[in-house]
């Protein structure tokens, strides 16, 4: 076993509530509850919570990559670089965050499958996007910003 040091990984402390991921369980599990009010349409919130955590984590990972990408001195035209390319490519390695990379590997499927991800796109928009494959990377980037 090799002992590896990632000095830039420790103490990621956003001073404000920047990442939803870190406060998700507070929003879903704390806060005031009034018994006669119902949590409509949130049937299965316990399962949902886990799914939402995965999705939010994934999206936040994208966002962190996007932010890191902005700081990087990229050789390529940044306009042609999509976040998924970055994750598969060299940027992920140079950022060197083991955990982020590990999370990112499973992102693609999860974002599409789990709750919240797909739903942010209006259903009626989908056929339009399919007919315009040239805009594929554009829609991916929009999901990242969603």
């Amino acid at each position: 076993m090799t002992a590896t040091t990632y000095s830039d990984e420790v103490v990621a402390c956003p001073p404000r509530a920047g990442t939803l991921y870190d406060v998700l369980e507070l929003i879903l599990d704390r806060g005031m509850v009034i018994d006669v009010f119902i949590r409509v349409s949130l049937v299965g919130i316990e399962i949902l919570k886990i799914d939402a955590r995965i999705v939010v984590a994934s999206v936040d990972t994208y966002l962190r990559f996007a932010e890191a990408c902005n700081r990087l001195d990229l050789e390529r035209d940044s306009g042609s670089t999509t976040v998924p390319e970055l994750i598969g490519g060299g940027a992920a390695k140079s950022i060197g965050k083991r955990k982020v990379r590990r999370a990112a590997e499973s992102v693609g499927d999860t974002v599409r499958k789990a709750v919240g991800g797909d739903d942010d796109e209006e259903p009626e928009e989908r056929p339009k996007k399919r007919r315009a494959p040239a805009r594929g990377s554009e829609s991916r980037r929009r999901r990242v910003e969603a």
Binding site: R16, I27, R30, M32, K99, V115, A146
Partner: protein, 249 residues
């Protein structure tokens, strides 16, 4: 009033201004309104059909509460609370007006800061150097490599990392507690040795965060600390405190 009911974001003091340009949950963002009952008001909107815990809606809920906090004390509702109608909201405000008013008074001028302690996974070298069991298992695994030996070594490493994080978590909790007005355990989160929220006075927020960062830097080989805040006081809407468990120890 709509067939889908009324989404309730927060209880505030009567007369608390709604933040300009801020929408609620749903797409497009629902229009916010405030309904008043005595000394209290509730911030509500029509509940969107098909409400779920989407990222967009979670952020809308959270962002609104953050902005409301700039206007005065806020009792944040848990995400997804929907009342059958405005009348039901008003009845609830009236039913416990003094209780809610007291809670608002208690939280005035404060916000929540959440702290999570996770095992510092890059502390492997330290663990091998310091932990006798790990060292012994590592030597054993080198002499006789195999699945079983690897499994035992890995298990010992994981346990050692968790123990270091718990110890550090206990220490940081001890150091920060005197700086907070109240402390509340957060929900259990997988991988966290400690998940705790502090109720911190607004003016003391920077000093609190600085202290937490100082501890984090000094103990980076033992624990990864994740701080979030200032936040709405989700964990302090109830008067009674929850004991803080420190896991993995």
């Amino acid at each position: 009033m709509t067939a889908d009911g009324v989404y309730v974001y927060a209880i505030t003091r009567a007369g608390t201004a709604l933040p300009e340009g801020q929408g609620g949950v749903g797409s497009p963002p629902a229009r916010l309104r405030s309904v008043r009952q005595g000394r209290l008001a509730a911030v509500i909107s029509d509940a969107p059909p098909d409400l779920r815990a989407r990222r967009r809606d979670l952020l809308a809920h959270q962002d609104l509460l953050m902005r409301l906090m700039d206007e005065g004390p806020v009792l944040p509702m848990r995400f997804g609370m929907v009342a059958p109608g405005e009348d039901a909201v008003l009845r609830q405000l009236a039913a416990d007006e003094s209780g809610h008013a007291a809670a608002l008074k208690r939280l005035a001028g404060c916000h929540e800061i959440n702290l999570k302690a996770l095992a510092a996974e890059d502390a492997l070298a330290d663990v091998v150097a310091e932990d006798g069991t790990v060292r012994r298992l590592r030597d054993a695994a080198r002499r006789r490599p195999g699945y079983e030996a690897s499994l035992r070594l890995g298990e010992a490493v994981a346990a050692a990392l968790a123990r270091r994080a718990s110890d550090a978590g206990r220490r940081v909790l001890r150091e920060l507690t005197p700086r907070a007005r109240a402390v509340a355990a957060g929900p259990e989160v997988q991988g966290c040795a400690l998940n705790v929220s502090f109720l911190v006075e607004r003016d003391a927020g920077d000093a609190f965060l600085a202290e937490a960062h100082r501890f984090a830097s000094a103990n980076r080989g033992h624990v990864e600390l994740r701080l979030a805040g200032p936040l709405p006081c989700y964990s302090f809407v109830a008067a009674e405190a929850r004991p803080v468990p420190v896991g993995g120890g």
